[in-house]
């Protein structure tokens, strides 16, 4: 029996896919639990959140600036 220390991430399936692709850049995942859960190393949480934010930002269309007219 083993107990592994870490941080569990709970997310939707889409975010999970982004997390998997991030993991290819920097290995932070300890265990892929299921479609909505993932166990990662605690010290990487901040980095993961920041990168995810950047990734999600790429997919949003901003209204600001286009509507000034």
């Amino acid at each position: 029996m083993r107990a592994i220390k870490g941080v569990i991430l709970t997310c939707d399936a889409a975010v999970k896919q982004i997390l998997l692709s991030l993991n290819e850049r920097e290995n932070f995942m300890i265990e892929d639990l299921d479609d909505n859960h993932m166990l990662i190393k605690g010290e990487h949480e901040h980095w993961v959140r920041r990168e995810l934010e950047t990734e999600l930002e790429k997919n949003t269309y901003s209204m600001d600036g286009n509507s000034a007219n």
Binding site: R2, A3, G6, T10, E31, S62, M63
Partner: protein, 463 residues
């Protein structure tokens, strides 16, 4: 004293306890008795009580002996017993009633409240107007109070862009309405934004309670000054000669909040503003204003389905509040135009302001024109603001331990059952025979596993 009124929708509505009542109810009995030594404090406290509580006090005020609770109970109709019981409980907590089994007023309160009503007692207990004092310019006083008060609120919303005195500033930081300045530029917090949504009277009292808690002076001195100035009249100058040194300090500090006008600590007189004189009354704290601001009285915001927002205001405070969650585009003498965007809302969310708070603000300050709409705010915009908030919470993380590699199914089940009873299991998978539990349950779970293994060892040794 009459019976509690017959059932009537409006009458049954529970009165919301005054912020100060809630605060006083937590104070020690001795402090309260000392507070009631001043007739003005008795009157001020009486004024913030609910009508029923006042009735009970008036009923007992001129009685020399105690009244058995059963006599008072006889006046109460059964279906309103609860309201009556609550009133008695409040009065006991305020130490106005001393014993639940024998109803009589706290002697200190009784004596001094009688003095109040009969107009006797020592000189200056309600403030002594300055004999040489000339009538003060009320317009000037209103302007002064408004300016001081708005500058504090403005400081909150503009991240300290608008300097104010040292004490109000510290008060905002300590009360958690703004973030700690040691951790970078202070910003308004979620609590602070909630504060802006409250009616002005409540805002004033919230700050004053914080002021009382933070004051280094004796709490009774501080409270009695605040309660005393709440019984003064507007437009008059009062002498400070009957005040103690500590009370004069408090009076001077209150000038930072626009409650009093006082040039310096040693000044022989002070002038209360409307903020002070309406503290324990139901009149609005500033002339003909329900919003405690120099901006428009009614709502001023128009929000369109295309996320455009038009705010008919020239008030810098309101503009700064909007700037917390709206991307402002143009500014005209009486109009500010902005756009609610993902970025502007996200910025607000990151500052701890919730989507619900933004929607409440927009609803409270909606322009009368908007009130014809049902629902009041465009649904698309409301939903989108909520969705942006959800977006922020797409990833949830929890620290803890993954328990895995159990050698037997029974072991797994036993440990999992134990962890479930602790209420720390966040995720489990029977097929993989592993589960994840919060970090704070780890010690207990480990101890349980150790015990389990030890007892198994013993069992094996016995064979």
């Amino acid at each position: 004293m009459a019976t509690v009124p017959e059932p009537d929708e409006n009458e049954i509505l529970p009165y919301q306890a005054h912020t100060l009542v809630t605060f006083l109810a937590k104070e020690p009995k001795q402090t309260l008795t000392r507070l009631y030594q001043a007739p003005s404090s008795c009157l001020a406290v009486f004024r913030i009580l609910t009508p029923l509580e006042r009735q009970i006090i008036m009923h007992l005020l001129w009685m020399e002996s105690a009244l058995p609770p059963s006599s008072l109970n006889a006046w109460v109709v059964r279906q309103h017993k609860k309201i009556y019981d609550e009133a008695i409980a409040t009065l006991l907590k305020l130490n106005i009633l001393t014993k639940p089994d024998k109803l009589s007023l706290n002697p200190e309160f009784k004596t001094n409240f009688r003095l109040t009503l009969t107009g006797s007692g020592t000189k200056g207990s309600f403030g002594q107007p300055l004999e040489t004092g000339s009538p003060q310019d009320i317009e000037y006083l209103e302007g002064y109070a408004l300016e001081k008060w708005e500058s504090i609120l403005h400081f909150m919303v503009s991240s300290g862009g608008n300097p104010i005195s040292k004490y109000p500033k510290q008060l905002l930081y300590r009360s958690g309405l703004m973030t700690n300045p040691d951790l970078g530029t202070p910003r308004i917090t979620s609590k602070g934004f909630q504060f802006l949504l409250h009616p002005p009277h409540m805002q004033l009292w919230q700050l004053l309670i914080q002021f009382i808690e933070m004051s280094t002076e004796d709490i009774v001195e501080v409270l009695s000054v605040i309660l005393m100035i709440s019984t003064t009249g507007l437009g008059r100058e009062y002498t400070t000669q009957y005040f103690t040194e500590a009370q004069r300090n408090v009076l001077f500090q209150l000038s930072d909040y626009g409650l009093t006008v006082m040039d310096k600590k040693s000044s022989p007189s002070f002038t209360p503003t409307r903020l002070a004189t309406t503290l324990t009354s139901s009149s609005p704290p500033l002339e003909s204003s329900t919003t405690l601001s120099s901006g428009p009285k009614d709502g001023f915001i128009i929000l369109e389905t295309n996320y455009r927002m038009y705010a008919y205001t020239d008030n810098p405070l309101q503009t700064s509040v909007l700037n917390l969650f709206v991307s402002l585009k143009y500014r005209f003498p009486n109009l500010v135009v902005g756009l609610i965007t993902r970025e502007s809302v996200k910025r607000a969310l990151n500052n701890g302001i919730s989507a619900e708070q933004i929607i409440t603000y927009l609803t409270t300050h909606a322009h009368p024109q908007m009130r014809k709409n049902n629902p009041l705010l465009p649904v698309t915009v409301q939903d989108q603001i909520r969705l942006w908030e959800l977006e922020k919470n797409r990833l949830k993380s929890d620290e803890g331990y993954l328990y895995t590699d159990f050698s037997a199914q029974t072991d797994y089940e036993l440990v999992l059952k134990y962890a479930r009873e602790l209420g720390v299991v966040l995720w489990e998978n029977a097929a993989k025979r592993c589960f994840f539990a919060q970090a704070d349950g780890h010690q207990t779970i480990r101890a349980y596993i150790d015990r389990m293994q030890a007892s198994r060892q013993r069992a094996e040794n016995e064979y």
